[in-house]
Every structure is written in C-alpha cells, then in structure tokens.
C-alpha cells in the first residue's frame, strides 16, 4: 500500500536527528465555539499521517496549530522531547515544520530558483549570487528528484509544479515535517499522481507528511496512520492497514440527529413548481438541473469546492451564466444582475455575511431596508417613520433583539447578524430563498431560531434552498437533498433515502468510481 517505515540513508536534513512530533491536549475555540477539543497525536519520522473528517471537523485548524499559523488555546507540542511554542509560521519553520496550503504562496513574477530561496538568497553585500543560487537549486532538485528548470517563471508553471516549488522551498529550509492541506484539490489526475510520488519520496527520506484530505482513496493509498476527527474531537487514530473507506466514513459520521431541528412538514400533495433550473452552465457549475416546489426545503450537500455556492450564484445571476435556463414561477429569469433577480422574487443569503452581506459599520435599520428602499421611501426620499416601522416589523418576525435599530451591526452577535440577513430577505417577500451556509459562525441558540425561520418561510409557501457543509443541518431540514461534486449534481435523495451514509458516499465518491449511489 505505502512505503511506510523504510528508513533509508538519512539526508542532510533535520529529519535525521529529530524524534517524534507530539501534540498533546490541543484545544481551540472560535468565539466560544470549540473548533478543536483536547486532541493528541504523535507524528513519527518517515510516515504519512493523514487527518480525515467532514467539513468543519477541525482538520485544518489542527494543521494550522501544528504549523504555527494560529496558537492553540490549550495544549502543548513537542518535537523529539523538546517543548515547542510557536508565535508564527516562521517559528515553526525554524523547527523544521512547514505547511503547504491550498492557496500557494509563490511569487509568479520571479523564477523558480528565486522563489525557492525567497528571503534567504545567497548574497554578497546585498547582491544576489545567482550562480550559486542556481547551483544550490540543482543540488536540491537532484536530491528530491524534481525536474524543474531554475530559470522558468514560477507563474508559468502548472499548479503541481508550483507545489513542487513550495515543497523545495520547505526543504531548502531544512523542513522535516510537511503539512499539506488538501494538496490535490486543485490538481488534475496526472498532477495528482506526481504529487503522490513526491509525498512518497519525502517520507522515504525520513521526513514526515501530515496529509489533510477529503479524498479517502488517496488517504488509504498514501497514509501510514490515519486520524479521524469529528466536531473538533479526535475519534480515533488507526494504522492505515486496518482502515477501509467504510470504517473511515463511519468514524467521520456524527451521532444520531439531535432534536435541534423543527419537525419536517411534508406536503400532502405535490405542490406547484416555483423554481426550475435546466442545464445551467456557469463558472464552477456544470450542467445542473433541478426543480423546487412551493413550500419545500431543498438541501444541497457536497464538499467545500463542489460548486454549491457557484450554483447558487449562477441561479441568482451573480455570475456569468453561459448556458441553460432558470425559470421562476414559470417565467424565464433573464437578466444579468442580482437586482433584477430580487425584484422578480428570488433572494440569496450569501455564505459570508461580513464580506458579502452586511455593512458592518452602518446601522441595523440601514442594513435591513437595503434591498427594499422603495418600501420605505416616497419619490426617493426615505421616510424615517415608515422605515422604522417596517424594519421593526420584520425584525420581530426574525426575532432579532437589538437595543436599537440605530445600533451599528458590528456590535451584534454573529447569530443576530445572520438574522439580519434573514430580516432583509423577509422584507423582499420572495418566492424563493437561497441560503448559503445559513448557520455558519452562529451560536447554538440562534441556530435553532434560524432553522425555525427557514421552516416557517417554507411553511408560508416559499421555496427554500439550503446549502450547508453541516450535514446534520441538511438532513435535519431538507425534504429533498441534492449532492454536488465537481460542479455537477451527482445524486438526488428524498424521503427515506436521505441519510448520512448516502450523502457522504456520493460526496466522497471518486469520479472514476460509481457515478451515482443507490439511495
């Protein structure tokens, strides 16, 4: 399966002298919400240690803590018995720990060699010694077995080759523990193979690789040890030999659905269709078709990057649609702007309320009335009384309690900020609501209120689409579930067919594997 523990002649890196990298009792909270609780693991030299889990299970947080990007709230780390405390990624690097994230940190306008030695260029009196830098580069490239020209512009390389540059940069600074967060997410099949080769050669030389990946087959093929996380907790760490795709999925699953959700009201008869999407083509969206009925909550599940938000934005006409059609109440929803979509009765709550939703420095009132200023004005003149009355009215319906509607939004809690997004939508009295990650960064109490709101909106005859990375949320709310992958809708689940196994199996299925999964 993998080339595990073969300790070959050690290279001249720190790997030869270091011992185990031990993480003990690490916890991290974001605004009171635990992202990681009491996680301990040991990474031995010469192994690939994989971290698996659902979106939000805490894998990336753990990776960031191990590489000094963020500090843990609690817990300790040590390397070969020496206790570590990182203040910055640079600190971690000085101990040989480096992280390679999805967003690569290369400078496209510099050459490969310049990128590798960025900040540590061999120089004399401030002048870079190019020849020496190239020679060092060739030596390094030979050791790791990469075939890269030092003089090419880094920006002209494929993503896999850019990743090689990052890896070489890491190794040129004597990194011995490389943390890779979803390294193959952006790669083609061939490039993925190449990267797998790199990972194998790294561990063969006595380095360790921490592999964070959604792709279970990749994990099983490469890893020596696999740690499963769920809701920030370590479920188990097993030898890869003892793991199968089934046991991993089982470990990643949450406990049974909690009663945190309102009761699903299933329509007696088929309600009329309110939204029809046919063969929609847009950036990140590949030939998507589905229908949404009045009073229905449709869940869209899938991994991060599967194209869920892209689909929502294409329907909302926020991105360039290159083909297909969207019909709202039977009428073609043309146009090229969100403003038209809103007027036609389609509203969208974007995934990031701070970046895409709210004017955080402005008042609650201004934020709520923003989409429907026509309702609170006459001939373009805003009527203070009418605005206050209207805003108070919708605020009551979404149960936001702010001391004053003149309060700036940044003073509200995350949950209340999110409810403002709902208040704005309610004010539009739409036919269809698309909510992208409606409970992200929201406390438990507000979550339930938001679930009630969604159910209530559907109950009033609205068609509701809920996109969520929180699987429980999709399962708990939706009457039907679409699972997306690589910009396509892979499978549709309804009624009894909606369960975690079915959704996860479809979401994680390799494209080479079975295309759809029986529900």
């Amino acid at each position: 399966m993998s080339n595990g523990n073969i300790e070959e002649a050690p290279r001249s890196t720190a790997a030869s002298v270091r011992g185990d990298f031990v993480v003990t009792g690490v916890s991290k909270r974001y605004g009171g919400v635990p992202a990681l609780s009491d996680v301990s693991l040991t990474i031995s030299p010469g192994t690939v240690h994989a971290l698996v889990g659902e979106n939000g299970a805490g894998k990336s947080t753990l990776g960031k803590i191990m590489s000094g990007v963020i500090p843990p709230d609690e817990g300790t780390m040590s390397l070969g018995g020496e206790s570590l405390s990182f203040k910055s990624p640079r600190d971690a690097l000085s101990h040989g720990i480096v992280t390679i994230v999805q967003e690569l940190a290369i400078v496209p306008g510099l050459t490969v060699a310049e990128n590798v030695y960025l900040g540590v260029e061999p120089s004399t009196a401030g002048f870079v010694r190019r020849r020496q830098s190239r020679r060092q580069f060739r030596e390094l490239a030979k050791t790791v077995g990469f075939d890269l020209s030092p003089d090419r512009l880094a920006g002209s390389l494929s993503i896999a080759d850019q990743q090689k540059v990052e890896i070489m940069r890491a190794l040129s600074r004597n990194a011995s523990i490389v943390i890779m967060d979803e390294p193959t997410a952006a790669l083609s099949g061939g490039e993925t193979e190449a990267l797998h080769g790199i990972i194998r050669s790294l561990v063969r030389d006595g380095n360790s690789v921490v592999l964070i990946s959604h792709y279970l087959s990749e994990v099983l093929a490469l890893a020596d040890v696999i740690t499963t996380l769920r809701d920030g907790e370590l479920i188990r760490t097993v030898d890869a030999k003892d793991a199968t795709e089934e046991t991993l999925i089982e470990g990643m699953l949450g406990h049974s659905l909690s009663s945190a959700f309102p009761e699903k009201v299933v329509a007696q008869e088929e309600k009329p269709v309110v939204l029809e999407v046919e063969h929609l083509q847009a950036p990140g969206v590949n030939d998507c078709s589905f229908v949404l009925h009045e009073g229905e909550i449709l869940g869209i599940a899938g991994l991060v990057g599967a194209g869920r938000s892209e689909l929502a934005r294409a329907i909302f006409r926020d991105s360039k649609v290159s083909g297909g059609s969207v019909r709202l109440k039977g009428k073609d929803l043309g146009g090229h702007s969100p403003s038209r979509s809103i007027r036609r009765g389609l509203v969208f709550i974007p995934e990031s309320r701070k970046e895409m939703g709210l004017l955080v420095g402005r008042s609650v009132k201004e934020n709520v009335s923003l989409s429907r200023l026509d309702l609170v004005s006459r001939l373009g003149w805003i009527t203070g009384i009418r605005e206050r009355r209207k805003v108070n009215e919708v605020m009551k319906s979404v149960t936001v309690r702010a001391a004053s509607i003149r309060m700036p939004v940044f003073m509200l809690s995350g949950g209340n900020q999110q409810k403002l997004m709902f208040a704005r939508s309610v004010m539009c009295s739409p036919n269809v609501l698309i909510a992208d990650e409606p409970t992200r960064g929201v406390d438990v109490g507000s979550k339930r209120t938001i679930y009630d709101l969604l159910t209530e909106m559907a109950g009033s005859g609205m068609g509701v689409v809920v996109i969520s990375s929180d699987l429980e949320e999709v399962l708990g709310l939706a009457h039907r579930v679409l699972v997306m992958r690589h910009g396509r809708i892979i499978t549709e689940l309804s009624g009894e067919g909606i369960n975690e196994q079915a959704v996860l199996a479809a979401a994680f299925a390799e494209s080479t594997n079975k295309g759809t999964v029986p529900s």
């Binding site: 970046e355 709210l358 201004e366 004005s377 001391a403």
Partner: protein
C-alpha cells in the same frame, strides 16, 4: 408565528441589560466625527476673531465664502464620490476646461449658452470618468488621473493657452456677482447645490445606495443595488460640480485659463478628508465636508491677514491632512 412568541430563545442574551449603555456608545460614535471637525473649526474661528482684527468683518467673511464657492460645490460632490468608494482626481482639469469653454462662449454668445456649455462639459467629463471606472474596471486613482491629463490637454487646445479676459458689463458677469442680502449669487447658488447634495446623501434612497456601494460593494450588489450605476452618477455629479466651479469662478473673476487653479483637486480633497469622510468609502457627510473646506480656507485667510509667509500655508495644510487621515485610520481600527 404564534408559538414563536413563547420560545425562550427569542431573547438574545447579548443585548439585554446593557441597552442603555450601548445606545449611548452609539450616540458618541455617531457624533464624534462631527465634533472632530466642528470643535477645531470653532476654536480657530474664535481665535482668529480675537487675535486677528480684520478677520471678523462682514467683508472678510463674505469674501471667504465667495472665494470658496467653487471649492465648496466640488467638495460636496467629491464627498459622494468618496463615499461610493471612488476617487476623482480630475476635478481640477474639468474646472479648467469648463472655465475656458464658458469664458470663450461668453465673449460672443448669450450667458445662458456659456453657462450651459460649461456645466454640460463638466457633466460629460464626469460621466466619462464614471464609465471608465465602472466598465473598464480601472482603479479610480489611475483612471481619473489619466483623464485629468486628457481634459487639461483639451482645455489648453481649446483656449490656445491664452488667458481669456471678459468685460464687466456682460450678463455672464451677473451670474456670479449679483448681490442679494449683501451676499453674492455665487455663494447663494453654491449653498443651494451643497444643501441639495447634503440631503441627497443623508436622506434619500440614492444616498443609502451610495453609502452601501462604498461600504461593501459586494454586499450592496447582492442586495440588489446597481453599484456601477450608482458610482457613475456620483462621478457625473462630481464633473457637474467641477464644471459649475469653473463657470462660477470665470464669472466672478472675469478671466479664465486652461490651467485653472493649481492644486485645486488636492485642496478640495483635503477639505473632504479633513471633514472626516473616509478615504476608504462607505462613510461621510456633506455638512462635515463644508466645515472641512471652510476650515482650510480660514487657515489660508488667517495666514494672509497676519502677513505670515505664504509658504507656511502648504506646510500647515499638509500637516492637517495627515492628522485627519490618522484620525480616520484610528476610528476604523476601533471597529472590529
């Protein structure tokens, strides 16, 4: 809805109890920016009145307003541009072009044509700026800077680089110099224009959309606001104001030159920023801008009246801008 009322989670803990504290915090936050310029303004006004004899005279004060009419109008419109998330560095050039266009036409045509042409030229250039920024997606700093060269070039060509001098008995002269209640018409027209823009920004749906476009363009777009359209209108208003500035000063001074007033763009921008309008967009007020412009004008006036070396004007202006911008940065940081 009915059973909703009984659910206890309706009440959110985080605002309870501290409501009175919070609303007073808001009131302070809302007013400190106005105080930030109004208090220095009053201190300066009183000091000048006390220490500099000729300052507190009707003639001098009306003179300041008369001289500042172009600046006040351009700065008011410039506030809208900044609040919408833009920047207009071409106002000085548009001012020059409108001045020579109206000046030349006033020599041989009716004042209405001269004034109308000047305003239209300004409006047209403003629309062009807006289109370039919105559709070519060029950074407004670069786009309007480049446009300022183009416009200045056109103005030089149109005037043959000559100083245009008009005679006093034309109707065009009356446009800015008709005195009503001992205040010249230039000041009256400017005040009306500024008051309208102040109300537009503070009280209308358009004003709200301007604020939203500059505060968070993505959020504004997803809320159904046509951000491009809003921004084009603000540039158009800025061009119109600059055109008006050129026309009114030509009428007041009976002379026009393609080069306009040196540094006009930056003096106006200084007034806006000193008034506490954020250079980053999403925040600002026309009344504060007015105080800011007059604050700078008073400093200039004070330096003139006391015969201090004019060189200090520049230095003082620079220092004041730095202070104003630091305050803005500081205010933004306080906000999470």
């Amino acid at each position: 809805m009915n059973e909703k009322v009984e659910t206890p989670d309706v009440l959110d803990v985080d605002e309870e109890g501290s409501s009175s504290l919070r609303s007073s915090v808001i009131r302070v936050l809302g007013s400190w920016r106005l105080a930030g310029i109004a208090i220095p303004f009053l201190i300066l006004f009183i000091s000048l009145s006390v220490w500099v004899g000729p300052f507190l005279t009707k003639t001098n004060l009306i003179n300041i307003l008369d001289q500042q009419s172009a600046y006040l109008a351009i700065a008011a419109a410039g506030t809208l541009v900044l609040v919408a998330g833009g920047l207009d560095l071409s106002v000085g050039a548009i001012y020059g072009l409108a001045a020579v266009v109206s000046g030349q036409l006033a020599e041989h045509h009716s004042p209405i044509i001269a004034i109308g042409a000047g305003l239209l030229v300004g409006l047209g250039m403003g629309v062009a700026n807006g289109m370039i920024v919105a559709f070519l997606k060029i950074n407004p700093f670069i786009a309007t800077l480049a446009m300022s060269f183009v416009i200045s070039g056109i103005a030089l060509k149109a005037s043959g680089n000559n100083l245009i001098v008009l005679s006093q008995n034309s109707g065009f002269y009356k446009f800015g110099n008709t005195v009503f209640l001992s205040i010249p018409s230039a000041v009256w027209i400017t005040l009306v224009f500024v008051a309208i823009l102040a109300l537009v920004l503070a009280k209308t749906t358009f004003g709200r959309r301007v604020v939203a476009s500059g505060g968070n363009a993505e959020a504004a777009r997803l809320s159904g606001i046509r951000v491009n359209q809003i921004r084009i209108i603000t540039y158009a208003l800025s061009g119109l104001a600059a055109g008006y500035g050129g026309v009114i000063d030509t009428s007041r001074l009976l002379s026009a030159q393609a080069t306009g007033v040196p540094n006009l763009t930056f003096i106006v921008l200084a007034g806006v920023v000193v008034g506490g309008t954020s250079i980053g967009g999403g925040e600002g007020s026309v009344p504060r801008t007015t105080i800011g412009v007059l604050f700078i004008a008073m400093i200039y006036n004070g330096i003139n009246l006391t015969n201090i070396d004019q060189v200090y004007q520049q230095i003082v202006l620079g220092v004041i801008i730095l202070i104003a911008v630091s305050l803005d940065v500081w205010a933004r940081k306080r906000r999470v």
